[in-house]
Structures are given as structure tokens and as C-alpha cells.
Amino acid sequence: MSRQFMKGCEAIAEAAVRAGCRFFAGYPITPQNEVPEYFARRMPEVGGAFVQGESEVASINMVYGAASTGTRSMTSSSSPGVALKSEGISYCASARIPMVYANVSRGGPGVGSIQPAQMDYLQATKASGNGGFQMMVLAPASVQEVVDLTYAAFDYADRDRNPVCLLVDGVIGTMMEPIELPDFKSDEEVDKMKEAKKSWACVGHRLDYPNRSWIEPGHWKTSDMQKANEDAAALYKSWEKDVQVEEYFVDDAEIVIAAYGISARTSKTAIDILRKEGIKAGMIRPITLNPFPHKSFENLDYSRVKAILDVEMSIPAQFINDVAVGVNNRCPIETCLCSGGNLMKRSTIIESVKKINAELGGK
């Protein structure tokens, strides 16, 4: 298949349609407007439905309804819009509704800046709503990865009956790159996937109380609620097998960069330059932020690794909290941060690594 030149946001939409997504609801917010715009054009071509909701709140709830029928469904937004969706996301997680949402994230709390940033790490991985639920969180670092992870996200969602979050930083969402698209799932395959969910889908069933479809976003009985929470916890634990991580020159690295998404991309070229100068830098890039590849950090040889450099477009640092779990105080963790909509510069990363190298080498 020949390569095409596509924008990250449009790639989300096309990959979703190819994965069998047949319902999308969303609301305008920069920098993800190309997602709903693309779906608005594309859905009628494939017999799917597109609705521009009156708000992010309405949109996520439309997705809650659509996904409750067993239809592969998604929504997208950007940081403040995702905050508005958090109640609906929590309902989907509690009711165990498979759906996918993309956060093409931007800077700062509040309305923030419309420029790209990585300020929603903790929100995405730890608390996208009330009640302590979790989702798989996927963090692409290229438009091709946007395609591949979006396509896979629907399978994860259906497998687990749980929402999946695509954390796509604003740079990846707005940049264009050559990509190859996956197969278009046929109408028969899409119907089959929906049919497979019919036992629980809220579409009408023969009158038979014990077997009615009852999509419960909560439970009156405390024992039922505890059971649901235990089931969910077991699901979250099962994700250890789904960890995806890229390790770059980790085998002999003395300084290991920890980064995800766009920061990891920039770090990679910084490492190439540093290595040419004889500085042994490497990188661990989580592709799944939840489940987090703690083992990659646990298993580093700390007799060789002198320091970790946490590179992220967030101030204060957020991703560092998960990095620290695996490192477990066995070496210092330094930070290289920017925020507010400025992109992490390669030169800043290089300087940070060199500074650490000089300090440690002097010991």
C-alpha cells in the first residue's frame, strides 16, 4: 500500500473508521477540530453517524448511548474539553462500555493555551473522572503510531468492555507525516463485531428479566458495587501483558532519558547527536502510559546508569511520578521541562544531558 500524507487528527478519524467505528460525536475545540470535521465528511460514506454535540458533555454522553448499543464509537477533544467529558467517561468505565476517546492535548490548566503541551498526563493515567477507574492510555509519537494505536484501541476496548484513551499531544495531532493505513474492516466484519455484543447491548430484548440488557453505571447494593470494583481491578491488573515500550540504546546507556510522545521523538535525535560526541545516552519511551512499563525502569543496571533525565512538556513534571516508581531511588532523576505551548528543543535536551554528564563525571 502506498503512503499518504496525513495530519495526526485526520489519521485518528480515518483509522477509527477503518477499525469499524460507526458513531462519532464531538464538539469544536482547538487543536482537534480536524477530527470531527473529518468524521462529518467520512461517516455518511460508510453508513455511520456523526453528531456535533451541543457541548463536550453532550458528546461523551452520546457516545455512551451509541456504544451501549454495541456500535464501535468514539469522541475526541482537547484538555479543557476532556475535563468536561470526565463524568461521561467515568460512567462508561463504571458501566463497562467499550469506547475510545482521543485527547489532543494543549497547555496549562483552565483554558490554558491552544498550543501543544503534555499537561494532561496525570488526568489521563490516574483520574479521568471520579471513582478511581482506569483505562488503557496510549501515547503515539508519530502519525503512523496514531493510526496503529487508534486501530488497536477499538480492539482493546471491545476485549475489555472498557474505555480506551488516546493521549495525542497537540504536536502529533496537528503535524502531517507520511503514513500507511490499515485494512478497512468490511461491513460484514463491522456487523459481526456489533452482533457479538448483543447479549449486553441496550437495543431491546425479548421480555426476560434476568437476561434483559441492564447497563449499570453504578449499583445500589454495596456488595454489587464492591464486586464491580473488584472485577475492574482484576481487569486493570491483567493489562501487564499489554505493555508497549520503545527502548533506545538502553543496553549501554549511562544517562537514560524517560519521555513519551513528542518529547520522546525530539529526545531520540538528541541522543543520536550526543552519541556522536561519545556520551552514552539512551531512552525509555512508554507507548502505553497505562499499563506503564515499570519493568523497563526496574530492570536497568544501576551500577552503570548514573542518572535518569525526565523530559516532558509539562511544568510541574507529571510523568516523572511513574518513572520514579521503577527507578526506586537507585539513581537521581533530573528533569528537562517546558510548557505553556512551547515545544521542547533538541538543544535544551542536549544541554541537560551534558550538564548531568559533567556533574557525574566530576565525581
Partner: protein
């Protein structure tokens, strides 16, 4: 080999189109890696607009480099804002019709093209970006001109009646770029 290009001007001048056409042409015609990254202000018109194109044989890291090999400026504020990002020996393409500020560097190659004036002579101010794209391709030969033209043709698809005008605009730009290159 990696080329970093920044294109900057007012919103509405077709800044993004230059970048997208060039990057798409690279994607269509080569095996190179290429990225296009836009940076908008909040305004739809009038505010500043700039975008970045990276073309490389290697895997591309950030979609905008710290240092630019080439800079295209379509207005004065962009010149002031981005001049210092150009590497020594880099190329600066300016819309000399309206960019009147002094170029306070003597270590860059300056290619001046009065693209606004030419566009008006051709009868449509909107084609100034296609002229500038021609200038850039004619000078750098980063992608073969015919490939770039093929992409323009494809993108204009539904507006076939605009093709002759755009062809003329592109050719005028190519000629200016080639002239600078050969001097």
C-alpha cells in the same frame, strides 16, 4: 541529510499551503521522511501564521528544528521574528514587495522575490504563495519542480479553471529561483 524550513507571514497569505504542497510533493515522489507542522495564532485572519517543514533521509525527531536551513518570510514581522533562527550560510527568501525591513545579517543568502506585485500583475493576489513556492523549489531543487506541480494540480483538482493561473505563477517563481541559483 536533513533540511529544516520555516515559512512565516500573515494569516491568509497562504503560508500553510506552501508548506503542505512542498511536504506532500516530497511524500508523493520520494522515500524521504517528511513532516509538516503548522503553528497558528487564535485568529482566523490577520494574525501571524507560520509552519515548518522537515525533509530528511533519517528518522525525523521534532517536526521543527532548533535551527533553520531555509526561511521564507512573507511579511515584516516574520522577518524580525525568525531571522535569527537561520543557520549561518542558510537561505532567506523574502517577499520583497512588502518586506522592507533591514536584513541585519550578512551570513545568509538572500533571495528577493516581489511575489505580491507579480501576483497582482497576474490578476490574483492569492497566488503569491504559489509564486514563492516556485522560487523556493527553483532555488533549492529540494524536490523536482514537476513533482511539486503535480501535487498542486492534484490539490486544485476541483478548481480546474484556476490551473493555468497557478501554472503561470509557479513558472514565474521557478524562473526567479533559478536565476538566483545561477548567479
Amino acid at each position: 541529510m536533513e533540511t529544516n524550513l520555516c515559512i512565516a507571514g500573515f494569516g491568509g497569505q497562504g503560508v500553510m499551503t506552501i508548506g503542505k504542497f512542498l511536504a506532500s510533493a516530497t511524500c508523493d515522489s520520494t522515500d524521504k521522511n517528511v513532516t509538516f507542522f503548522p503553528s497558528y495564532g487564535a485568529e482566523q485572519r490577520g494574525g501571524t501564521a507560520n509552519c515548518f517543514v522537515v525533509i530528511s533521509d533519517e528518522e525525523i525527531g521534532a517536526p521543527l528544528g532548533d535551527v533553520m536551513d531555509d526561511l521564507i518570510v512573507l511579511n515584516d514581522p516574520s522577518l524580525q521574528k525568525f531571522l535569527n533562527t537561520v543557520k549561518p550560510g542558510g537561505n532567506l527568501f523574502i517577499n520583497s514587495s512588502i518586506v522592507s525591513g533591514d536584513i541585519e545579517r550578512d551570513d545568509v543568502n538572500v533571495i528577493k522575490a516581489p511575489v505580491t506585485e507579480i501576483a497582482l500583475v497576474l490578476g490574483n493576489s492569492k497566488v503569491l504563495n504559489v509564486i514563492m513556492l516556485g522560487v523556493y523549489v527553483g532555488y533549492t531543487e529540494v524536490v523536482p519542480p514537476e513533482v511539486v506541480w503535480g501535487t498542486i494540480e492534484k490539490k486544485l483538482g476541483s478548481k480546474a479553471k484556476l490551473l493555468p493561473l497557478n501554472r503561470e505563477a509557479f513558472e514565474r517563481g521557478l524562473a526567479i529561483g533559478r536565476e538566483y541559483k545561477n548567479n
